[in-house]
């Protein structure tokens, strides 16, 4: 190795973060090269100087100051909701079934339909079912779901006070219902419970071995766009370095009914393994966002009512936080509404 390469590795060598092979090369070089030896010594000295700098002492009263601020922050944390089971068991099972169908179209499915769908079936049905769910039953539910959706697309019910009785319409899938905040309009009571709709994101993973990465990535984009998957802004590409193989992960967010077609076309790109379907439960995160936004907004209102000038920066800060949480909430809604297809393109390179 030349000095340049050695110098790049001296820092890691000093920290014993180089491989045995690298150590051999570096040590061999060091016996011959006085410049690199000196540089290593300087780096070691530099490290020693930095490690021995005086540690600044924390000023008195730090903990007391913090104590007051923690108490202020506490109300938001305390808005812990009581855990409730998601209400819309029916449509979740239908959604799972829907996914099973599209994955099925794409080829061999690894989706453990029975076990996932069964989790969400209502108790009565559960007693009649064994761990497997009849495919016909799933298809029926899926069709029912589609039919319902066509009848009243995206119907949203948001009736404060309806906590005991859940309106029938709420059993419908696909309705992007905003959070049902109980206690709405009752300003004296702190909002404690936010009943939110279950947010489940479907993820389908597909691994495809391709000859050339560069060309394949463009093709994936084309396929996604041609199928009406969300416009390019949702086509986030993430580059991930993997050892030995060049690989790319591409996420496509697509409407449920497009997933099958997209997977089909993707499979033509190379040698595709069977797609794997997963679900990511986002309900808790969603609930947290809803509750936090509510708590922050209440706090803003309270401070504004008091009208003290020294609270203004805090109000500004809270408004910013409210906005951030709002974006988070919208993201979850979007994730739960569309199916995320994760395509892993792997280029198999010949090892030198």
């Amino acid at each position: 190795m030349r000095c340049e390469q050695i110098k790049e590795n001296l820092s890691a060598y000093m920290d014993q973060m180089t491989s045995r092979h690298e150590n051999q090369l570096i040590e061999a070089h060091l016996t011959e090269c006085a410049t690199c030896r000196q540089e290593l010594e300087q780096l070691q000295l530099l490290h020693a100087l930095l490690a021995n700098l005086d540690e600044p002492q924390i000023p008195d009263g730090f903990a007391e100051d913090l104590h007051g601020r923690l108490l202020e922050a506490r109300p938001i944390l305390l808005q812990q909701p009581s855990m409730k089971r998601p209400r819309q068991k029916g449509w979740i099972a239908a959604a799972v079934a829907g996914l099973a169908l599209v994955v099925g179209i794409a080829g061999s499915s690894l989706l453990p339909v029975g076990s996932i769908a069964n989790l969400w079936l209502d108790d009565k049905a559960k007693t009649n079912q064994t761990t497997t769910v009849a495919v016909e039953d799933i298809i029926q539910r899926f069709q029912q779901w589609r039919a319902n959706e066509e009848e009243s697309p995206g119907e949203v019910t948001n009736e404060p006070g309806q906590t005991e009785e859940i309106p029938q319409q709420q059993e419908q899938p696909g309705a992007e219902t905003p959070a049902q905040v109980i206690d709405e309009g009752n300003g004296d009571q702190p909002v404690q419970i936010a009943e939110v709709d279950p947010q489940i994101a479907d993820v389908v993973k597909s691994l495809i071995k391709v000859d050339s990465l560069a060309g394949s990535i463009d093709k994936v984009m084309e396929i996604a766009q041609a199928n009406g998957a969300e416009s390019s802004r949702s086509l986030g590409t993430t580059m991930q370095a993997m050892d030995a193989q060049a690989a790319r992960e591409i996420s496509i967010k697509a409407p449920r009914d497009q997933v099958g077609a997209i997977l089909d076309q993707l499979a033509d790109l190379g040698s595709a393994s069977a797609p794997i379907a997963e679900q990511v439960e986002l309900t808790e995160q969603y609930r947290e966002a809803v509750i936090t936004i509510e708590a922050i907004d209440q706090e803003i209102e309270r401070l504004q009512d008091q009208g003290r000038e020294e609270d203004l920066p805090r109000i500004e800060d809270l408004k910013k936080q409210s906005k951030i949480w709002g974006e988070k909430k919208a993201q979850i809604e979007s994730d739960a509404n569309l199916v995320t297809i994760k395509v892993y393109l792997v280029e198999e390179t010949v090892q030198p």
Binding site: E8, A12, L46, I58, A63, L70, A73
Partner: protein, 193 residues
């Protein structure tokens, strides 16, 4: 369950006393970390307060994959670097002739940076410390964080990768470049043999 895990669990339920016990364990380190990032006591104080508040508010996102300490370093690092970036943006929009609103700390620092430190300074630990700080303040955030976390706070590469949310390879290369830059400065000033 370790004591720390118990304290985290209680903090999750909004128990401020439990959280304050965690604070007591880490406040010295977090303050020192913030001091190195920010370069003065006042900002270090504010940023470490902010970091603990933020940690308390978002403790639900601590999943226990790393130690609480590492997670806390991460929160504090993000708070400090965000603030530094925010300030940099603000400063860059100002006219060059316009005097910046300086705090006392900044003045002292500037004066110090202008004086050429002599070899004697090496014996004056405090002044040397200030000189190093002035060099750190000039560094890019990613280089600065590598030096601060590794050489000053003495975290492992693995921990640094977690704090900075990057790969070990990135830690290695950033650290190498950052150390090289510092080494050159000190050699120029004849502070390294």
């Amino acid at each position: 369950m370790t004591i720390e895990e118990q304290l985290v669990k209680k903090s999750l339920q909004g128990d401020t006393m439990a959280f304050e016990e965690l604070v007591a364990q880490y406040q010295g380190k977090i303050y020192a970390l913030a001091f190195r990032y920010m370069g003065n006591e006042e900002d270090a104080y504010d940023m470490s307060q902010e970091a603990f508040i933020k940690a308390f508010r978002s403790i639900r996102s601590f999943k226990g994959d790393s130690s609480f300490g590492t997670w806390m370093y991460r929160v504090a690092t993000n708070v400090c670097l965000d603030e530094l970036r925010r300030r940099k943006r603000r400063v860059s929009t100002l006219s060059l002739d316009e005097p910046l609103a300086t705090k006392e700390g900044d003045e002292v620092e500037k004066e110090f940076a202008d004086t050429s430190p002599t070899a004697d300074i090496l014996y004056e630990q405090k002044e040397f410390s200030q000189y190093i700080q002035s060099l750190l303040d000039e560094m890019k955030p990613e280089h600065k964080s590598a030096i601060v976390l590794r050489d000053i706070m003495e975290l492992s590469y693995e921990e640094i990768a977690e704090v900075l949310n990057c790969s070990m390879g990135t830690v290695k290369s950033r650290l190498s470049r950052a150390r090289e830059a510092l080494r050159k400065k000190l050699v120029e000033r004849e502070l390294l043999p």
